[in-house]
Symmetry: C2
Subunit: 120 residues, 2 copies
C-alpha cells in the first residue's frame, strides 16, 4: 500500500524506488507525453474550447496527436468532452475539477523550473 510521507516531505516512502505502485510516477504519467501540458494550459487559460480551436492555438500539433491526447486525458479524468448534435458537429473540451486542483502544483513546478534554469 502507498504511504506518502508528510513528516519529511519525501515524495513517497516505502513505495519508491522499490515498490510496485508509485503515486508520483502515476501522476507524472498522466501529464506525460509531448502535448498534454500545452493542451491543459490552453484549456486552463481560455476555458471551454473546441477541437479545431485547440488545434489552432497549439502550434505544431497534428490531428492525430490532438485527438489521441484528448482521448487519453479524458480517460484519465483530467478533461471532459461534450458533444453537441448539430451540423456541423461541435465538440467542446474543458478541465475537470481534479485537473484544476493540479494547476497550482504545476505552477509551483514551473516556478522551480524557471529558477533552476537561471542558476544553471
Amino acid at each position: 500500500m502507498t504511504l506518502i510521507d508528510d513528516q519529511n516531505n519525501s515524495p513517497c516512502k516505502d513505495n519508491c524506488p522499490c515498490m510496485d505502485y508509485c503515486p508520483l510516477g502515476s501522476a507524472l504519467s498522466l501529464i506525460g507525453g509531448k502535448w498534454k501540458i500545452p493542451i491543459l494550459c490552453a484549456l486552463f487559460q481560455d476555458g471551454t474550447t473546441r477541437f479545431n480551436e485547440l488545434k489552432r492555438k497549439i502550434r505544431g500539433i497534428t490531428n492525430t496527436m490532438l485527438a489521441s491526447s484528448l482521448k487519453e486525458l479524458e480517460e484519465e479524468g483530467l478533461i471532459s468532452r461534450e458533444q453537441f448534435m448539430e451540423m456541423p458537429l461541435r465538440v467542446e473540451y474543458s478541465l475537470t475539477d481534479d485537473c484544476r486542483d493540479l494547476m497550482p502544483i504545476l505552477n509551483q513546478l514551473a516556478h522551480w523550473g524557471a529558477q533552476v534554469h537561471i542558476t544553471k
Copy 2:
C-alpha cells in the same frame, strides 16, 4: 520571455501552449524518463549513496540506465557526484539544494496523484 502568472495560478502564461520556451515543460523534462524519480527518491530517503548501492535499491535498473540517468541528473544540476581516489573505486551521489527545493512540490504531486487514482 517567460511570464509565469501568479494571479490565476496558471502554470504558464503567454508562453504555453504556443511559445518557444515553457518553464513547466523544462522542469518536467528534467525529471522525465523512466528512472529519474526512483533515483531522486532513493537519494532523498537515504542521503549520499554509492553507484552499486543505488543499483541494488532501484530494482530492475541496469548499469547503462543508472549511469546515463545519473549523468543527466548531474548535468541538470539535480545531483552531485563525488569521486574518491581509492581502490576499489568509490563514487558517491547526493541531491543538490536545487533538487531538495523540488521535493516538496513532488510530494504535493504525489498526493494529488494518489487522490485522483482513488476517485477514478
